[in-house]
Symmetry: C2
Subunit: 512 residues, 2 copies
């Protein structure tokens, strides 16, 4: 427990941080984050004082979604789910927590980020860390050997949150996977096709899809003279190519990792290459690369993948598929363009999407093969080959929210088409009768929950929440058996027969 005076000091300086941010009109996210820290400090003090200060906040690294964020989220999900369904995917759902041992041994170093539940007697449970391991558990448990499914749900990681950059401890994953023993690269190609369709439809801007194959990387290391036991460590240095220049990467390999200068230079030549089918073909002819059977197998598969994608996509649009073969490790997904790396024949690629650093540009999808995972759950070790992609949906949300902020158009949080309003007092019953008619006709309609609201406040509500049409009842209209319809934007008015619902529906189409 820290010293009280020390905490009070920290509160004081944190208070200044918040005041400064506010005066600088910093982003809401940024201010919220600092306020949260301040509240946490105050809570510590409260506890020490004996009198408990209740803190009104969400858990660290989590957030509520307000109606506006939900409206954006719904739009994004509809696009993505529409694509998954177009490709014939089913969907499943799994519990938010799994037996702890189900997750054990699946995430290596990252296991420390798993949220465990308190032992309250009974089973030891953990919150799911991704959707892939529960999917594999589901397949093994139900002895399913082939399925094409999507799963959109929240996962949990006790990571260091960076909420202003869209990194949370509770976040959505959005996975599409194909499990089953199929002919090489056909399902892989469909996964990439799906990423392409989704990123295009979401209209996030230009993007590149980078592919690689672990076998090419390993083979390349071998022919460049990297000792077997150094593959992993050299690989992690090469990963840094998106954050530092080649010179520094080379220095690290030679000085820190003890690689020969010559080997480093050879690696440098390969990792600078990028291209499409042409590169795959060139490398298959490459005298040095040829020496590795592993690399050749990987390159042949990549060639096959490219040919399927040309057949898929370029049938009607030529040269539009922004697909590149990158001879770098899969963790490098952040480059100054949206990118979506998919790597056949590696189990770990699935982790690529959510761990990235930058928000404005960066990786918005990742994926790959994980042919061994299901076998880890099967009592007899029977394997089910799997390939899948994960859309980095939180990053997509961030981008869409930024776009919505920048746009002049207001995000509507309801879909209300008509407001049923009154010009005089004591017309609640008449309004309720009319709105029932509208609801029965499937029209989305609202009425104020006041007996005698002012007409002005009813009209204001329409403007605030973007309701296009008002149906105004007045004593004269009721006598005449009509209803006055008003287009909110143009103030255009017309009088219709009370029961002419079809007319209202026509108006809706016009004003929508």
């Amino acid at each position: 427990m820290e010293d009280k005076a020390q905490i009070q000091e920290a509160i004081k300086s944190q208070g200044e941080v918040v005041r400064k941010l506010k005066s600088e009109k910093a982003s809401k996210d940024q201010i919220d984050e600092e306020v949260a820290k301040l509240l946490e400090l105050k809570a510590q003090l409260g506890g020490d004082d004996g009198k408990h200060q209740f803190v009104l906040k969400t858990a660290k690294g989590t957030r509520d979604y307000n109606p506006k964020q939900m409206a954006i989220r719904e739009k994004v999900f509809n696009t993505i789910i529409g694509c998954f369904k177009r490709h014939g995917a089913e969907t499943i759902d799994t519990p938010v927590f799994e037996l702890k041992e189900t997750l054990t041994g699946k995430y290596g170093e990252d296991s420390k980020l798993i949220y465990d539940l308190k032992d309250q007697g009974g089973e030891l449970l953990s919150l799911r860390y991704d959707l892939t391991v529960p999917f594999a558990r589901y397949l093994a448990m139900n002895k399913i050997t082939n399925i094409k499914r999507y799963h959109i749900a929240k996962v949990y990681r006790r990571d260091n949150p960076a909420m202003t950059r869209g990194r949370y401890r509770e976040f959505y994953q959005c996975d599409f996977d194909i499990a089953g023993q199929y002919d090489a690269m056909i399902p892989d190609a469909e996964c990439l096709k799906i990423v392409h369709e989704i990123l295009s439809e979401l209209d996030l801007g230009d993007f590149r899809i980078k592919v690689n194959d672990r076998r090419i990387l390993d083979g390349m290391f071998a022919v460049c003279g990297v000792p077997d036991d150094k593959f992993r460590t050299i690989c992690s240095t090469v990963d840094k190519l998106d954050k530092m220049p080649w010179e520094d990467v080379k220095k690290e390999m030679v000085n820190e990792k003890g690689l020969s200068e010559e080997a480093a230079d050879q690696i440098g030549e390969y990792v600078s290459m990028q291209g499409g089918m042409d590169l795959a073909e060139r490398l298959l002819q490459d005298q040095k690369m040829c020496q590795s059977k592993l690399a050749c197998a990987g390159l042949s598969d990549i060639k096959l993948l490219f040919s399927y994608l040309q057949a898929h996509y370029n049938s009607f649009f030529h040269n539009l598929f922004p697909l590149y073969l990158f001879l770098v490790s899969l963790h490098i997904l952040s480059l100054p363009c949206y990118s979506a790396g998919v790597a056949p024949v590696t189990a770990e690629a699935q982790n690529g999407a959510p761990g990235e650093e930058s928000v404005s540009v960066g990786s918005v999808a990742g994926g790959g093969r994980y042919d061994g995972l299901v076998g880890m759950f099967d009592p007899k070790g029977r394997k089910v080959p799997c390939v899948g992609v994960s859309i980095g949906i939180e990053r997509v949300f961030s981008i869409m929210e930024q776009k919505a902020e920048a746009s002049a158009e207001k995000v509507r949080t309801t879909e209300v088409q008509v407001m049923v309003a009154s010009a005089q007092k004591n017309l609640l019953e008449e309004k309720l009768k009319l709105i029932t008619e509208l609801w029965n006709a499937g029209i989305k309609a609202e009425v104020m929950y006041k007996k005698n609201p002012k007409l002005l406040s009813q009209l204001q509500h329409c403007e605030e929440s973007g309701i296009p049409l008002v149906a105004i009842l007045g004593e004269q209209e009721l006598k005449d058996g009509v209803v006055k319809l008003r287009v909110v934007a143009t103030r255009e008015e017309a009088v219709n027969m009370f029961e002419e619902l079809l007319v209202i529906q026509c108006w809706l189409h016009v004003s929508a």
Copy 2:
């Protein structure tokens, strides 16, 4: 730790239970539950033995949703969300866990059922127990004084699971709430209207909506001579009226709770009453009931509620609203009909829906007012009146699943409209080209992930997954620049120009 031999004995007998159920062709749920017990026993033994036996299961009281269940779930959600949107509701989302102290003191006795997270350094967290408390926290935290929102999400209770009866530890809640200072009973009436619309649209069968008001109940106890300090205990006895006859309830009140025979008889008279507006009016005239100001206030509000609902609903359909005033406590929602109890002016009614006992018939909705909850979170205790309903969605799923089982019609788990197939070998590229055309036109289409699948297996796949149409490519068709379309159900065939996508779309409408 139990004795090893004892466990082995238990495994043996549990194994027999499972075998018996299987031979009797018991329901899958029932078998699964017994198998789970068997696996747990085996796991215990494995642990004792020192060699660890990995158990392939979901956590106790939870389940996966398979694609068929998901298809049913999606249909139900679409109906419900459609209704919420028609009534102009926004939606929000909150994290799956809250600070432990946010939940503290909100659930009384039931607090022991809250799942806590392990203390891994940092905040103490608990999984949400319902959606109402996080909603109130959200309102207070964001100083929101009026909103109409729905929230559909999973909640967690360490209850004794009864999975065969649709009771789980992880289950969906589906809430619609109106927060804000409005004129009496107007939002309450809309909540009931929504319940009516949803239950009607879901077509679950006849249902009754029962309403009560805590003030009527308390007032009735007072005028019947129940001492103040016995209200609660007498209330819990009256609650049992749905499970035991009046005679036994009376016996418990008199013999166990020490109520006078006379008071019990008077209660008996009241709780047997049910009716609509007429009953509310009759009780307002009732000489004894009149003595309680509390009861009168409650009855006046119920009268107002009924009048609004008549205005809402009976404007075009007379006497169709199955609305009853029941002078019994709100926990009694299980009767031999679907029922949905909504009680204004009580905070606890929200808990009604998921805790029920029977599945085939029982409560599928519950709700009420909770005017004090938001004030518990506000630093200055500012109140925000709230009223809401919760659809007992898990029970609805159970009913829909049973209906689907009983129905001859197969539940489709994908929406695929066309299967792109081939009659000869080596046509993968042509198939990929065609399916890209279909996808680009927004048509849901599938192709097999094999280079040379047999025509029969392609047709079989269509029949199994309910795909209505096959587009068959053959060498002759390719030469002629056409594609053969076949309706799976009727085997009717036609030949179309290769690029006549519109024709395919027309066929889809015909065959859908």
